[in-house]
């Protein structure tokens, strides 16, 4: 690690000279390190905080941005090479098999037939894809990459339920990784050609004379300029401009069909011309609201629930000056006074994914089947690869209802219970033992009566004093004080079940 250390020191010194800010070069300390890590990643571990608290704020931000991963480390599922033709053919066969078994069962008069165990390809591969992403989030060395991929997935939404051909969604996820903190203009152009998006918002079936408005509408309303900047006619004209951008049914790749493109004149946002899709994208990228709305969304994701109007203008201008390069913007955002303001600590809710993945990373829990996390996320209101609608998850207060709040507590209790199994034995090689006990009964149904509300501490949390654990685990002081002399396992469990643990 020596070279990296020298490098960050050098950058730190450079920044200190350039910005003449002693505060920027000074070590950021435990609270600020925790805040930066929790806001740009998942729940930080004591090791991560220890590595960051000695860095200056500038060095720490630089490290987060320079260690991103353009590709996932988790191996892709083996069905990635399937073409749409093969996919839908295989799916038809599965459905036929299911139908035949149903008929056979009816002939025999069986009350419960086996057809329910046969799962269609969409659900099979959808489950694989979701489990794959959870695996990557659990193991990644760059939590910030995952947070940005989640951000783009929630901005340029697409769902398994609508797209059905799951390999396209995995390719879209790869695109979000490649451009996680890349260039927004490039990402937008790629998304408009992305097969999953073309299927999700019906661009694939939109053609001359019969344009489908779905993509054009959401492009304007959600992805770029936002309501109030365009009229219904602009949507219709934009839809015409995108006709012909489709998906090759054989290969599943983006393909232009010139014969299906409407090359008549269009009027869009006050200009006329024989526009195609790229002209429309160029027009919305030239509109200042596109960058402002993106900055507002990033602000609510990373800084606080209420974007500061003046800061949004400043940061959006920065984004445009840099031709939509994301890194200078993200750097400025994380170095902003608002980001560092202690008043903004603990003002955002952890999403279900952040809650689950962050807790498991903190406790270094071995998870042998991430499909369980998929089910948990769905119950808590965040089914990745299946956003509720094109607007994505609303987040914020909406994460916490009477229903999900109880489920969150329940999930944390389960994890606490699971540490007793995972770390309660000498045999640490055994991952999440007692499978039948932990997996077969659905989470909702099991008795909670005998759950001991104390953790078995994983090795990573051993030997750290309670006061420091509290500063690392919680964004704000707990509502119920944790006794300094409490057993460490009981203290950590109490912190996790405190309402403050829901915040970041």
């Amino acid at each position: 690690m020596l070279p990296a250390r020298i490098r960050t020191l050098a950058i730190g010194t450079g920044l200190a000279v350039v910005l003449s800010g002693a505060a920027l070069a000074a070590p950021m300390g435990t609270e600020q390190a925790r805040h930066l890590l929790a806001r740009t990643g998942f729940q930080p571990t004591p090791q991560e905080v220890a590595a960051f608290e000695r860095l200056s704020h500038g060095e720490a931000v630089e490290r987060i941005l320079s260690t991103m991963r353009p590709k996932a480390a988790t191996p892709l599922p083996d069905w990635m090479g399937m073409s749409p033709a093969e996919f839908f053919q295989a799916n038809r066969e599965i459905r036929r098999e299911k139908r035949e078994m149903k008929e056979a069962a009816e002939v025999k008069g069986e009350a419960k037939d086996r057809r329910d165990r046969i799962v269609g390809l969409v659900r099979q591969q959808g489950g694989d894809a979701k489990a794959w992403w959870y695996r990557e989030m659990l193991n990644t060395t760059s939590p910030f990459t995952e947070r940005m991929v989640l951000f783009w997935h929630n901005h340029f939404t697409s769902s398994v339920q609508k797209v059905k051909y799951v390999p396209a969604l995995m390719r879209q996820n790869e695109l979000f990784r490649r451009e996680a903190a890349g260039n927004y203009a490039r990402l937008l152009r790629d998304v408009a050609r992305d097969p999953a998006m073309l299927m999700y918002l019906d661009g694939a079936t939109s053609r001359k004379g019969q344009p489908n408005e779905n993509f054009a509408r959401e492009l304007l309303e959600l992805f770029t300029v936002g309501e109030g900047q365009y009229g219904e006619q602009d949507i219709k004209e934009a839809a015409r401009a995108f006709t012909g951008w489709s998906v090759d049914r054989q290969t599943g790749a983006y393909r232009v069909y010139p014969a299906l493109h409407d090359d008549g004149s269009k009027d869009f946002l006050g200009r006329s011309g024989n526009f195609d899709g790229d002209d429309i994208l160029a027009a919305v990228l030239a509109h200042p609201r596109t960058s402002e709305r993106l900055v507002e969304k990033l602000w609510r994701e990373f800084v606080s629930p209420q974007p500061d109007a003046a800061e949004v203008k400043r940061l959006a201008a920065l984004l445009r000056q840099n031709d939509y390069e994301m890194k200078p913007l993200l750097q400025a955002l994380f170095l902003s006074a608002a980001f560092q303001d202690p008043k903004n600590r603990g003002t955002l809710f952890k999403s279900p994914v952040e809650m689950t993945v962050g807790t498991l990373r903190l406790l270094q829990m071995p998870v042998d089947d991430t499909l369980r996390l998929v089910r948990g996320g769905r119950l808590l209101g965040q089914d990745i690869f299946d956003p509720p609608n094109v607007k994505g998850w609303s987040g914020g207060e909406k994460w916490i209802s009477s229903y999900t709040l109880m489920l969150r507590e329940q999930g944390l209790q389960r994890i606490i219970q699971a540490t007793q199994v995972a770390y309660g034995r000498r045999d640490m090689a055994r991952p999440m033992a007692d499978k039948e006990q932990l997996e077969e009964t659905p989470v909702e149904g099991r008795s909670m009566r005998n759950v001991p509300m104390a953790l078995r501490l994983p090795p990573a949390l051993n030997g750290i004093e309670t006061a420091r654990l509290e500063r690392i685990l919680l964004a704000l002081p707990p509502l119920t004080a944790v006794a300094r002399d409490a057993a460490p396992g009981a203290a950590v469990a109490q912190m996790m079940l405190d309402p403050v643990y829901q915040l970041k």
Binding site: N212, E221, G381, S402, M406, E409, M448, D498
Partner: protein, 389 residues
């Protein structure tokens, strides 16, 4: 601080006071009917009204929808002009019995075709250019204290709570009653005034509501009779089952909200739309039978709604794009059956969409005033009541 709502109000010339005032409030002389319950059914994604209540006799209908029109011989005829989609056949009995109404052409001026904006307009009963943050039911009930037996006002079984969102109403989101009661006991109770920032205050408010509601539900559900009719074994049926059990338990409340999603049928719409209407029709028909059996049908008003209908002409993908006005269903023992309002003619379209004939705020005002017996002030909007209740 000039917030968004206030800014819009000022900009639109709507007085700030009027926007903030209760919409359909102030109790009637006789007092509101607090034993009456509204079951709201949200059809999410924009239900295609034209293929739900079909103008089957109009040749334009088939001309504009060559691939997705409902076959004429399949229509469940309600009148010489209009009929139900065949998947809604289970509702025919309610129609014949006179306790199902169809509100025709419900919409609003300057329609917005965005899912999110339009459902917000419907849920808050705002004008098209007016931004309100409180739900229409919350505003209608404002200033009408519920009897002391009420410890919660609504149960939301789907995930959109906006119609009942507001400071005055106590709502819980519920999927499974037993689990709810069991888990509520485990949530640590913390005094709500401990919260510093808005996020923490929200957490503590939700916790407090959970505790209150769990306490009541535990007592009520213990003595509730088992439902006599089984609801369909699908997610919508399970929502109906929960609603049914809440109703038969006599838990005092005013609103139960359920939802059915998947109506955004831009492409190849017949198969999914037919299936969804089948789920809706079967579910509501069984719900009615069960409530009649329990002697509760007169106390319940079931009302469907959706953010918008869909374009009259089909698109090139054998689907339909976002449209405007659409029919709503109302059902209940006290409902006056038949058609209410007027079917918008297909010869008079605006940007390819039908023009609304009934403002949805008149529907809401009718529910507030004639169903619950709330009277009075509706802000700037002067409602014309409908006769369906």
């Amino acid at each position: 601080m000039l917030d968004r709502r206030r800014f819009i109000s000022l900009a639109g010339g709507v007085s700030v006071l009027a926007a903030a005032r209760p919409l359909f409030a102030a109790p009637a002389a006789s007092g509101p009917n607090w034993d009456r319950i509204l079951v709201l059914v949200e059809l999410k994604g924009g239900n295609d009204g034209m293929n739900t209540v079909v103008p089957y006799a109009d040749p334009l209908y088939r001309r504009l929808r060559p691939n997705i029109a409902i076959e004429r011989d399949q229509i469940v005829q309600l009148s010489p002009e209009l009929g139900l989609h065949p998947a809604l056949k289970p509702l025919q009995e309610a129609w014949k019995a006179g306790d199902m109404g169809v509100l025709l052409g419900v919409g609003y001026p300057n329609p917005n075709r965005s899912h999110f904006r339009s459902i917000e307009i419907w849920d808050t009963a705002s004008a098209s250019n007016q931004y309100l943050s409180e739900g229409w039911i919350a505003r209608a009930m404002q200033g009408n204290p519920r009897p002391s037996s009420f410890v919660l006002d609504s149960v939301v079984v789907d995930d959109n709570t906006l119609p009942v969102s507001g400071p005055g109403l106590r709502n819980i989101v519920l999927r499974d009653v037993e689990n709810f009661i069991q888990q509520a006991a485990r949530l640590k109770q913390v005094a709500a005034d401990r919260g510093g920032n808005p996020a923490l205050r929200h957490l503590l408010k939700v916790q407090g509501e959970v505790h209150q509601a769990a306490f009541t539900l535990r007592d009520r559900m213990k003595n509730a009779p088992a439902p006599s009719v089984e609801m369909p074994a699908n997610p919508f049926g399970r929502q109906l089952d929960l609603a049914l059990r809440l109703l038969t338990s006599n838990t005092p409340l005013s609103v139960i909200k359920i939802g059915l999603g998947g109506f955004d049928t831009h492409a190849r719409q017949r198969e999914p739309h037919d299936r969804l209407l089948g789920i809706l029709g079967e579910g509501l028909a069984k719900f009615r039978t069960a409530l009649q059996g329990a002697g509760l049908w007169d106390r319940v008003l079931v009302m469907s709604y959706s953010e918008f209908g869909r374009r009259v002409a089909e698109n090139g993908s054998r689907g339909t794009d976002h449209g405007t006005a659409a029919p709503q269903f109302v059902m209940g023992g006290k409902v006056k059956g038949g058609f209410h309002g007027r079917q918008p003619p297909l010869t008079d379209l605006s940007e390819g969409d039908v023009k609304y004939t009934v403002d949805f705020r008149n529907v809401y005002a009718s529910v507030a005033q004639r169903w619950w017996g709330l009277r009075g002030d509706s802000g700037n909007f002067k409602p014309e009541l409908l006769g369906f209740v």
